[in-house]
Symmetry: C2
Subunit: 317 residues, 2 copies
């Protein structure tokens, strides 16, 4: 049974890569890393009822399980290459597996990402994906390089996914489809991450929320960060359906956006804005790196704003 | 919270490796594969109540989650290097995490295996490990190279783990500690797998049961395999506590043994027996590769024996 399921997913995601010596079907895959490249590796699990609501379509689950991992590669500036998928499900329903495979393949295909291994087990619904991508020695984007005076920027818009989750509680969520779609089908900023190599001084993807994730950059870099709340990029969908205070809290602490947040020397910020606009996601200056520690959020008067949420805590949720 | 837990496990498993450029603590790990080596990658999940009984000690869970993955590397003849651990648990109990970390580290340390990444999520207890090991181009042990006339051999003894699982149902399992230990603390045959490089024509590890796993070699190699039931190596613990018919069924179909089963040209079998004896696990000739398809089990009179179990099916279990 195990091989049938993984085999089904493989068929949806078939891609030929010279660096895959042995793909699915043996005890392990055998792959070759190109000369002169290093390997970025990440693993992330989605649990039903924690990372996606019960009732999420299998295609959305397949997409999101890969997206959150590709987002980790994006935050390193890595080029995606291979993935493994470990799926635990209560049963073997055919439509579920086909749906999950389709969603996974939809996102994998444009990146020529090869599924090289997997495991299927019986149990409560959880999906774990491990991804591998290539980096050039010394060019990976770390969390530890932010310097006082750097500008802080984010791609895309913030808060939509958390707002989408809130909207799912409504009897009819269809007016909020744009927000729900951002929750279920996050776009990993892979090209944006690659464009940051050699320019950004630190980078992270926003999974737990802007303030929480910037906190990791502060800790790793030994700096503080001041965010200017009025600068935060928010979508028209978010601002249409939510009052300003909620929209701001979602943007600061909602999480699940999978945008990139990065620091960059002030004299490179303009060039990056243009690059990111060409890539379709855009990038907005939201703050700056300062001496000290931790993240402060400043309101339009320069006073300190206290967000009501500071990020998801999976064990406290 | 996520980082605290993985960080705790990392402390138990700390090992310095020059090929780990960035370990735990960023969005992805960065590693370097040595020049001239390829990478073997496997992933496997253990689910509470499916792959280990409720009540299994956290240390045993940590050990086994790594062991079943190292066994996949062993079956390829690969040298272990790095692992990632994705843990889903209902809560954040400190003793549980310390126990799991200790069990994982006990097995990882002798191999100098580095934990380079992970994820902790809230949900029903499941443990997914992804492992990476090195192979030399062209030397990985595949399932597809068995040739008619080859001898079929297995390391160690068969059936103990399945017998151990049966014993756990007893009110007092202490007389069966040797069998239960084989269930909870399987020994991946890493050195044995490395010794098979360039000699074995096909290899697989026994996770689903001897007959089921040899069936994969038959399919991949386009051959049949005849097993001689009287030759199957069984431990004295198994033969002491179970009647012959049960002991034979456990050995043929019980699964969870994590011994290696391999095919080898007849003129290399003696040499391999000596090598495996030196490595401490031993290896026993149990059958031969024949024309045809599928696995036949022959009794002491050369008649076909029908085992009552042919391997675990995780979805039917």
């Amino acid at each position: 049974m195990e091989f049938d399921l993984i085999e089904r997913i493989r068929r949806h995601t078939e891609v030929h890569r010279d660096d895959v010596i042995e793909g699915i079907g043996d005890d392990a895959a055998i792959v070759a890393v190109p000369a002169g490249r290093e390997l970025a590796i990440a693993i992330d699990t989605l649990v039903e009822g924690v990372h996606f609501p019960p009732g999420t379509s299998p295609a959305d689950i397949g997409w999101k399980a890969l997206a959150v991992n590709l987002s980790d590669l994006a935050a390193m500036g890595a080029t995606p290459a291979w993935a493994l998928l470990a799926l635990t499900t209560p049963g073997g329903d055919e439509a579920f597996f086909d749906g999950l495979a389709r969603g996974f393949a939809e996102l994998a295909t444009p990146y020529r990402l090869a599924l090289i291994g997997g495991d299927t087990t019986r149990g409560p619904l959880t999906v774990t994906v491990a991804v591998h991508g290539f980096t050039t020695p010394g060019e990976a984007l770390l969390r530890s390089g932010a310097r006082v005076g750097d500008v802080v920027m984010v791609t895309g818009t913030l808060g939509d996914a958390a707002a989408g989750l809130r909207c799912l509680a409504e009897a009819d969520a269809s007016p909020y489809a744009a927000l729900v779609d951002r929750l279920n089908r996050p776009t990993p900023r892979v090209s944006a991450g690659q464009a940051l190599r050699g320019i950004a001084t630190a980078c992270i993807d926003i999974s737990d929320g802007l303030v929480a994730d910037l906190g990791h950059i502060c800790t790793a870099s030994g700096v503080g960060i001041d965010i200017e709340a009025p600068l935060l990029p928010r979508s028209s969908a978010l601002l249409t359906h939510f009052v300003e205070a909620d929209a701001l809290d979602f943007a600061l602490g909602g999480g699940d956006d999978y945008e990139l947040c990065f620091t960059v020397p002030a004299d490179r910020a303009g060039e990056l804005s243009s690059t990111m606009a060409r890539l379709g996601c855009g990038a907005t200056r939201v703050g700056r790196v300062v001496e000290g520690s931790g993240v402060r959020v400043l309101d339009e008067h320069g006073g300190v704003y206290e967000p009501s949420r500071t990020g998801w805590n999976h064990f406290a949720a």
